[in-house]
């Protein structure tokens, strides 16, 4: 029996509900007729469209590119014609430019893509490939990977952590990927270790994915890579908590992981790096978990980016009348939305169609100061205090909001059903604006 | 010595100047919205209270009593306190600007704080000697600080509360003070004067 580790401060144990999609085999979805590619699927400068209506595009062709140090690119998943470029409203309430592509069904690929090529000879070249392939953190944050893998010169790295915790209930994409692409995944990890000259790699897997853990353990030949079993606890997938669980190192407050010589990447990101480096294949598809009682066939789908929610849902047997909530991401941190025409993006790890009985929708009540939110906060904050101050916009007393990772553990345990996390998140945005204004 | 300790405990907790003797209620309600300001007020009160009590003690024993002018007590004491506060303001600004920054803004409020005059008069009424006067005024001041500081803490918390409209403001303040006073009854008899 392997040793199990976990983080120490806070955390909760929501019902996992992974059984719905856990055993479903990976289904490959062919590209539908229309695809919607948002130019802004990442954190950083917004990419600008390189095409206009009427343009012909090929599969893997670059269609949007951003400027600046932190940005990313978008590629077309199919060959076809640009129909229009329009604005769509995404769940984070921001309007985003979307390139609408009509699939011509020919599936012509752009030159020199999707063919084996020589491995890069230097770190710079490696990072350039990742940048060109439009790879970003696929766990949900969407931070451009080439930036993350390139810490300031004075920082050295000694540990590479692959985040396979997948602590959100329902979601099984990482699990599926590790089971179905074990070899590629491990090779990708080795590649990153080579390129970044790191000697040690931990793969953190929660014990509810023991099958994936065993498989990786048995297929792994690389001595530098060590899969580690984590005690199931939410939010283990949060960067700082995962680093602590695996290495015992504490990332200083408001600092990045490289302060403790660590970088963290998501499972799907590692696989994307493998595809880009080995086969010159840009990021145009990803695995999405569709789950919940509101979808007829909960499944894990390898889908081209840009397919609409309704298209992918229909591919999985369609949405049934039980579905009351649609969530992009996991049930703890995901965002609810009501427009089935929105597309899947690089950060869409899951699409949940939840029935009434799966969701708690109790009315918000008054705080009885039970302190449960404090016990579960993995960052050691006082959520009820921060909520009150955030709601009152009392900027003098709410500096701590900046340390909130918005994991939602506080809202999860609150016996008064208070929306602590979302209030604090709002406060965080306001406070950030307030500080900017101050400067 | 024991007597002095008893006197100190009594005037700090058991016969707390605000909660049991009803002195200094106006600033108690007025300057207790935030704990920081409450602490500032508390320290300013301690400082002025000790000085005023000592000075008025000497005036009573050295001038009023020998000249048989006891009936001028009120008028003399209040003038002394008013002058003292004025002088403190000026000298503090010059000699200890840091202290002035911390306590200065509370000084003008203190002239109308009846604890100062009250303690000065009580000291004479109770026939305390110099050391007792010192202990009495200092520990009464501490009692004031304790009362206003914890009260301000509660009021900060009440900021979040959904207090019925008619009770907002002074009403809830006074009632909370009453509940504090209720709690402080527990100290009854801890020491016997």
């Amino acid at each position: 029996m392997a040793e199990k580790v976990t983080f120490r401060k806070g955390g909760v144990h929501p019902e996992e509900r992974k059984a719905l999609s856990e055993t479903a085999p990976l289904k490959k979805m062919a590209a539908p007729e229309m695809l919607y590619m948002a130019v802004n699927q990442h954190i950083g400068a917004i990419a600008k469209s390189l095409v206009k209506a009427g343009d012909k595009v090929l599969r893997n062709q670059l269609i949007a590119e951003g400027e600046g140090a932190v940005t990313s690119r978008v590629h077309s998943p199919v060959s076809g014609e640009i129909v229009e470029i329009k604005q769509m409203v995404f769940p984070n309430e921001a309007k985003v430019e979307v390139i609408v592509i009509k699939n011509d069904g020919k599936n012509e690929k752009a030159e020199s893509t999707e063919q084996e090529r020589n491995l890069p000879s230097s770190k710079e070249e490696f990072l350039e490939i990742i940048k060109n392939a439009g790879i970003i953190g696929m766990g949900g944050a969407g931070f451009p990977t080439y930036v993350k893998m390139n810490p300031p010169k004075d920082k050295t790295l000694d540990t590479f952590i692959i985040n396979a915790a997948e602590c959100e209930p329902y979601l099984t994409t990482d699990n599926r990927l590790m089971l179905d692409y074990t070899k590629e995944f491990l090779e990708g990890a080795g590649m990153i270790l080579d390129m970044l000259q790191i000697k040690k790699c931990f793969i953190g897997i929660e014990e509810n994915k023991r099958e994936a853990f065993e498989k990786i353990k048995s297929e792994n030949k690389d001595a530098r890579i060590e899969p580690k079993l984590l005690k199931t606890k939410y939010p283990q997938g949060a960067e700082k908590q995962l680093i602590y669980a695996l290495t015992g190192r504490v990332v200083p407050i408001r600092k990045l992981p490289f302060e403790v010589k660590v970088i963290v990447q998501n499972v799907a990101t590692v696989k994307a790096v493998y595809d880009a480096v080995k086969f010159n294949k840009p990021l145009t598809e990803r695995i999405v978990t569709l789950s919940g009682k509101g979808i007829n066939e909960p499944s894990n789908v390898l889908a081209p980016l840009g397919v609409t929610v309704s298209a992918i849902a229909d591919f999985c047997g369609g949405i049934n009348e039980k579905a009351k909530y649609m969530v992009n991401g996991g049930p703890m941190m995901g965002k609810a939305f009501d427009n089935t025409n929105l597309p899947v993006t690089k950060t869409t790890s899951g699409l949940l169609f939840l029935a009434e009985e799966e969701v708690s929708s109790e009315e918000e009540n008054v705080c009885i100061r039970c302190g449960r939110c404090i016990y579960v906060c993995p960052m050691g904050l006082n959520p009820t205090f921060l909520k009150e101050e955030s709601d009152r916009r009392n900027y003098e007393k709410m500096d701590d909001v900046l340390d909130c990772i918005e994991c939602g553990s506080c809202s999860f345990v609150c016996p008064s059903s208070r929306q602590l996390a979302s209030s604090i998140a709002k406060g965080k945005q306001r406070y950030a604006k307030h500080i900017k204004k101050g400067k | 010595m024991v007597k002095l300790i008893i006197l100190a405990i009594d005037s700090m907790l058991i016969s707390n100047i605000v909660l049991m003797r009803f002195l200094g209620i106006c600033p108690y309600i007025g300057v207790s919205k935030k704990q920081e300001t409450a602490a500032g007020m508390g320290f300013a009160v301690i400082f002025v209270m000790v000085m005023a009590t000592l000075i008025s003690f000497f005036i009573q024993k050295g001038i009023l009593d020998p000249l048989n002018l006891g009936y001028l007590q009120t008028i003399v004491f209040i003038l002394v306190i008013a002058a003292l506060v004025q002088m403190l303001e000026v000298t503090m600004k010059k000699i200890a600007p840091a202290l002035f920054d911390a306590l200065g803004i509370y000084l003008p409020l203190i002239t109308t704080n009846c604890t100062i005059l009250g303690v000065a008069i009580l000291t004479i009424q109770k026939n305390f000697n110099l050391v007792e006067a010192l202990v009495f005024s200092f520990s009464t001041g501490i009692g004031y600080l304790i009362a206003i500081y914890i009260f301000a803490g509660i009021r900060e918390r009440l900021e979040w509360s959904d207090i019925p409209k008619p009770f907002q403001g002074a009403a809830i303040g006074i009632i909370t003070a009453g509940l504090l006073s209720l709690a402080f009854f527990g100290f009854t008899g801890l020491v016997k004067l």
Binding site: G10, K240, V250, V251, I253, R254, K255, D314, I319, N320, K324, Y325, V327, G329, P331, M332, A336, F337, D338, E358, V359, S360, S361, E362, V366, I368, R369, G371, I374, Y375, M379, G380, L381, N382, G408, F412, P415, S416, S417, A421 | I150, G153, I154, R157, W160, D162, I163, I172, I175, T176, L179, L180, L182, A183, F184, G186, F187, T188, L190, V191
Partner: protein, 324 residues
């Protein structure tokens, strides 16, 4: 595809099923052993006290909710919080309390203890304690004379702590501590408030709360231990004046206070460190009042006094952030 209308609300979408109602009714459950024992000892008297206190508490809760313009008077008044207050208050009254005393206590608890501050969650002091102390100061005779359990005579007696205060240590030396602990009648001794007679019954309920994780174990532990240590020090220094620590353990409302009132979430510090300081302070003040104060029993006062410090304690025991 079904034509669904989707609801948009903020994350998270899952919630732990524990809610306020459940917490409150668990506390009520944990008070059942004490309640049952009280009824066994005092029969109809206890039933009347308990029922009328709860009834009046609920009535005043409804009345004040109505006055405050609540839209869900009935639902809110049965969220269990008023019931807990009523039951706790009843357990803090003597078995001989007349109905109007129960009503007065319920009125004070609901008005001054709760609703003028905006109701549940906003009150800085425990409503049941406010009411108890209010009654103690207002009707000292009624609140300090006690009947003996299981007896039919109308004689009133003092509590063991009362006897200790009035008649000194010799008068209590021969008392059977085990009987006091279990809440069995001891001759010449009044039981005290109906809820504080049997430490055993309180302990059973308290342990239940700890097991069910409604209250953290360290609050009652630190509270009781502090009282033990302090009374032990004085007992060791001068056993001819100060009673033994075990005597202090099994008498008065120490257990009821430590398990059911010092753990009141609304009015005690929210941080774990703060709770420990709070419990220690309660123990210290309880000991001081018992040993030197005018009142024979100091638990209620001690908790109330510490509750005045709750916001301050919360402030000084700010949590350490992860990575700070």
């Amino acid at each position: 595809m079904a034509d669904n209308k989707f609801i948009v609300k903020p994350a998270p979408f899952l919630k732990k099923p524990t809610d306020v109602k459940m917490i409150m009714w668990t506390v009520v459950l944990a008070l059942i052993p004490t309640t049952v024992w009280a009824i066994y000892l005092y029969r109809l008297n206890a039933v009347i006290v308990i029922l009328s206190t709860i009834l009046f508490t609920e009535l005043f809760e409804m009345l004040f909710l109505k006055i405050r313009g609540s839209k869900k008077v009935i639902a809110t008044s049965f969220d269990g919080s008023a019931f807990v207050t009523g039951l706790l208050l009843a357990l803090n009254l003597p078995s001989s309390a007349p109905w109007w005393l129960c009503a007065a206590g319920a009125f004070v608890a609901m008005l001054f203890g709760k609703h003028i501050f905006g109701g549940l969650g906003h009150n800085p002091f425990n409503p049941a304690l406010i009411a108890r102390v209010f009654l103690l100061l207002s009707f000292p005779t009624l609140m300090t004379t006690w009947k003996q359990g299981m007896s039919v005579d109308a004689m009133t007696y003092a509590t063991p702590l009362g006897i200790l205060k009035t008649d000194g240590i010799e008068a209590v030396k021969s008392m059977d501590l085990w009987r006091l602990f279990a809440g069995l009648p001891v001759s010449g001794v009044g039981g005290g408030s109906i809820g504080e007679i049997s430490e055993l019954a309180v302990l059973i309920g308290g342990l239940l709360l700890i097991v069910l994780r409604v209250i953290p174990f360290f609050i009652p532990l630190v509270f009781i231990l502090t009282v033990y240590v302090f009374t032990w020090i004085f007992n060791a220094a001068n056993p001819s004046v100060y009673a033994s620590p075990m005597f202090h353990m099994v008498t008065g409302g120490l257990f009821l206070g430590a398990f059911f009132m010092a753990t009141d979430m609304v009015t005690t510090p929210i941080t774990p460190k703060g709770k420990i300081i709070f419990a220690f302070g309660c123990g210290l003040i309880t000991s001081l009042i018992r040993l030197f104060g005018a009142y024979p029993e100091g638990v209620s006062f001690a908790i109330l006094i510490m509750e005045t410090l709750t916001p301050t304690i919360d402030k000084v025991t700010k949590l350490k952030k992860f990575g700070a």
